[in-house]
Symmetry: D2
């Protein structure tokens, strides 16, 4: 089968690979739609270390092609979604409530990391009964595919933020994950959602997905402006959706005592991430810093699909570019170099 791989650090391309084999609980899925994630581009730059001929991609939907002998709930022909994270559900960390950390820190992140990803004609899913979800008829593939990572990670950013009903939330910044944090904060009862973003197209999407106010960090001081918008108190919840030290610091500064800083960003550089000491209340201001990795699993995916099915949200506005799988090299370049105000690139197989 045809696969789009990271040949080595810095180099991508197509490769012919064998169709993956199946263990007794596994499934093979024929890919129909996929999305390119910024983290795919990080991976190619060496973000998770060297890899050779690793198939990229972790956001996809498709049709079940084959299942192992112990799979009970899925059969060939089922239209399915797999989460970007496919945990080992019996693992100690899963039993502890943290399936994304199963096997090892971030160990639920298997696609395009511990095994081949989804940018191929077929992909392999471990513990299929626990990691696949059937896509309801009313939801097209090009919407369902957003559940795999964008909705799950973005909503997690809001969920970890402990937002009180009617509370105040700031989301820094409004890339695809940040936009889904914004949508998630709205879905979870935030009374005021402030989107921090400078790119006009993303500001517009932020409004569409529920931001009540936009703060442009190139034009105003974020800390001052957020305090102004919150009567000097700071927000109940600040969500980091960029993965930059400066943004993280701002999050701590704009959060009120008793509030939560919720991180969704991938921090790729530097030895340390910096907590501003004084604004952290010298370690005593009851400001909590929460983190996490995209929740996966069938239950999560079923719930996210229900969010789409009952029209709470239309994620397809994130799709700024569409390509066929055989145009993958150009598609990847657009995503990697952030050309043409790209937000998300959809691939059709």
């Amino acid at each position: 089968m045809k696969a789009f791989v990271m040949k080595e650090i810095g180099r991508v391309g197509f490769l012919e690979k064998p169709v993956p084999g199946l263990g007794p609980g596994d499934a093979l899925v024929r890919t129909t739609r996929a999305l390119i994630c910024t983290s795919d581009t990080h991976t190619v730059k060496g973000g998770i270390g060297p890899r050779q001929d690793l198939t990229l991609g972790h956001e996809a939907v498709g049709v079940v092609e084959a299942v192992g002998g112990e799979v009970k709930d899925f059969r060939p022909g089922d239209r399915v979604l797999a989460g970007a994270i496919t945990p080992d559900w019996g693992d100690l960390s899963s039993q502890n409530g943290y399936p994304s950390q199963s096997g090892a820190p971030l160990g639920g992140f298997k696609f395009a990391n511990l095994k081949d990803g989804v940018f191929a004609e077929y992909f392999h899913v471990n513990e299929a009964d626990a990691n696949l979800a059937r896509i309801p008829d009313g939801i097209p593939d090009e919407a369902a595919v957003y559940c795999a990572d964008m909705l799950s990670t973005g909503f997690m950013g809001a969920e970890h933020g402990n937002i009180p009903m009617g509370g105040t939330v700031a989301v820094l910044a409004q890339g695809p994950v940040g936009l889904m944090v914004t949508a998630g904060a709205r879905l979870l009862g935030a009374g005021l959602v402030i989107g921090v973003e400078s790119v006009p197209g993303r500001q517009k999407l932020a409004r569409l997905y529920g931001a009540d106010a936009i703060v442009d960090f190139t034009k105003e001081d974020v800390v001052e402006r957020v305090l102004e918008l919150t009567d000097g108190q700071g927000v109940d919840t600040a969500v980091e959706a960029l993965g930059a030290d400066a943004t993280f610091q701002t999050c701590v500064r704009i959060t009120k005592p008793g509030g939560t800083i919720s991180n969704t960003g991938y921090f790729g550089e530097g030895e340390f991430v910096s907590i501003p000491r004084v604004e952290w209340g010298v370690g005593m201001a009851d400001k909590t810093i929460a983190t996490g990795l995209c929740p996966g699993g069938r239950l999560r995916m079923e719930r996210l699909l229900r969010v789409l099915e009952n029209k709470r949200l239309d994620p397809t506005h994130l799709t700024t570019h569409e390509f066929r799988f055989d145009e993958m090299e150009r598609a990847f370049e657009v995503a990697d170099k952030k050309l043409e105000d790209v937000v998300k690139v959809l691939i059709t197989f």
Copy 2:
């Protein structure tokens, strides 16, 4: 001043009373709008025991007329909202996180219970700095007044329900509190909200406030229908919004293992409320039963006002009837006898 009182069990009417005096932390508010609550009618029937010449009403907004010497944040002329529940914030139960229970079980419920209520030209507010909230300019009195009890109680029903993002919720029934539970469940991320109600007008409001499906208990079996709507699993959260033993039992029956039954109903009759033993998993199915009394206090009210200010919800569709204060006797009759498909009755002073 003129007050509308419960003269004794079963009898209401106007009475001339002195304007309330103020302690050092208190405020006097000139009433501008109020709502009649079903619990006012329960009170008159003797629901909380005998009372003599007790001013009724606990949902109101107004303008500050005077404040005690230690009040810092409010002054005459401020347009304000007081929660239906006005806790003693230093009390042990408040320190324990349950201000509605301050002083005694349900002890935060002072208006028209432990002291005179708000159906009068003026009403008294204890701990004004902690129990009043300024109403933002954009919110008219007739909307703000819904925060006092309807939004606070209804949203509480959803908040106590521990609704997962995209989870399933059933709300039994769709009276004014139930409708605000429905709205609250939507605001808190429910992926499917099922409203149980038989009255056509209320079914319509349920749709308006966010119910995805309506179950009419006069036409179908609620347990069967809810299981059908949830792939046989039952809901994550069932909210009791009526206060009837049969409804409570249904809530236990339709909740999945690991789910929550959240009560907002006032149970006025019988020695016991009945948990169906088998469907409760013989005491072992991880079904939690939560209860509570309308959260009050300035922070809560400020957050609810923010929900209105940023257009998450328009509660005024609940207002089916409007009267002047001098028409209070007729107004009360409409509410009490549930005439003309009444939902809420708004009083203008």
Copy 3:
């Protein structure tokens, strides 16, 4: 192999059975020690419906005899403990945080319910890597075996009780589970633990396991006495450890507003379990009722074994009787008829 079975409702005895076969993730354990549980006697009386030749028992330790081809962490010769509850870890209910409910309500309860139990020379464990725990050298079998159910269920009763540091707890009654609730409440920071019990031997054990006060319901009014012991406020947490309607009612009555009633009891009779309406605050006193079924799984068992290893607790004082496996009929009679002040009966294989 030899097995001690429920032949039909009301009749037990030995039976020769084949050694269980193994699926790829399963393990076969040679039994070394087991405990008889009150619920075994309920089962024989028909508590979970008719069964034919079902091997009884769900509390055991042993030595791994064989493992399936996909088991990674255990091998023949390992001394191991299996929880009484052995969940399907990939199931939706497990993903939802309720593994004891996996597959169906109470579906994690497989031993002596959905499959043969542990009162046999060998027993079968599903998902061995996730449901077995290695027993540290310092812990003898006769102590480790208490983790399977007694510690796990008893501690759960305390854990679900949301006990504040220094809070007040009442435990009704002091059977083997109740005694472990008492121990668990102490381990979780309760400042006052009140054991309700009338049997002198159990009162003595209650003191040993940490009860600060004993209330004998045959000699004093439990509600009055508990209120007296808590300055009239009621307890933060009341744990039902009997499974009787009257005891459950008392729990609701003695719990303060904002407190928790935590159930561990199996309710075997009647159509309903009764919540006393007024003391429940007419549905508004912020009293939460929590339930659950003995948590299982490797992580839970490892943590409980650590509790024993570091000498937090010695559960062997619960063992009032010891028998060899070939004396099982007499042993079961002692447990069933509660002869000779029995608390727990230990079986050696």
Copy 4:
């Protein structure tokens, strides 16, 4: 009256001051015992900025001398404890569940910060009904005085750590607060408590208060050793009880994915506190960082007194030195310069 004050940065001494006046809800307490806190010495060095003639001290017990006109529950002659933190209970932050942050970040910290402290013949308590607790007869002053800060802060470190029953905890380091974290972790069900400390006297106290293992950072690598003690997994909970960047970093490194870093330390230096990026899982390992400031208030104090009353803990082993109030200058020198292996210095009035 005689008061021991910070005259300016770096200089302390006695001063004659007027007895404090009382507002309607306040109380005046005649001091009987007090403890010197490390933070008193930080204050004198300028840790909270310049102060002139500020009475020092925030840990004390005494006898009520006088009360304001609205105080209901206390009267002259009552033997009482005041928490180090005396919140404004009606404040928005208190309503939000964070009374220590009332009024301003860390605003509940009034003694020896926003007003005169307790190192004087009399001290003033705001909101006396909410901030005082009566000391039960069985508890001597020299034990009760530890509740004000040491138990409350130390236990908070454990409480914020989200310790699972039987979980693993490391406490860095074993000063007086760290020792009470150790005791608190044991009281909250930790199955393994690791104390990190190099001073022999403190190591010994750590054992006494419940540490199962001691790691001496001058002799072994803390990260390696803690991983070794936890089968390579890291701890469920690491508590920072020193306030140093290096120690904080170690806490992040030794915590397992899904675990919690709980801070009790006061960070007095540097612009930033540093999170080690990789061991924090690049922001995705579900490691939560929690902080807080000593919980105050009557309910907290009553619960801590109950812990002492029922013999869960004897804090008086922390007292290494005792002085009379007139020896305060020498006493303060011992505490400030950490002479003679001082842990805590008790002052008798």
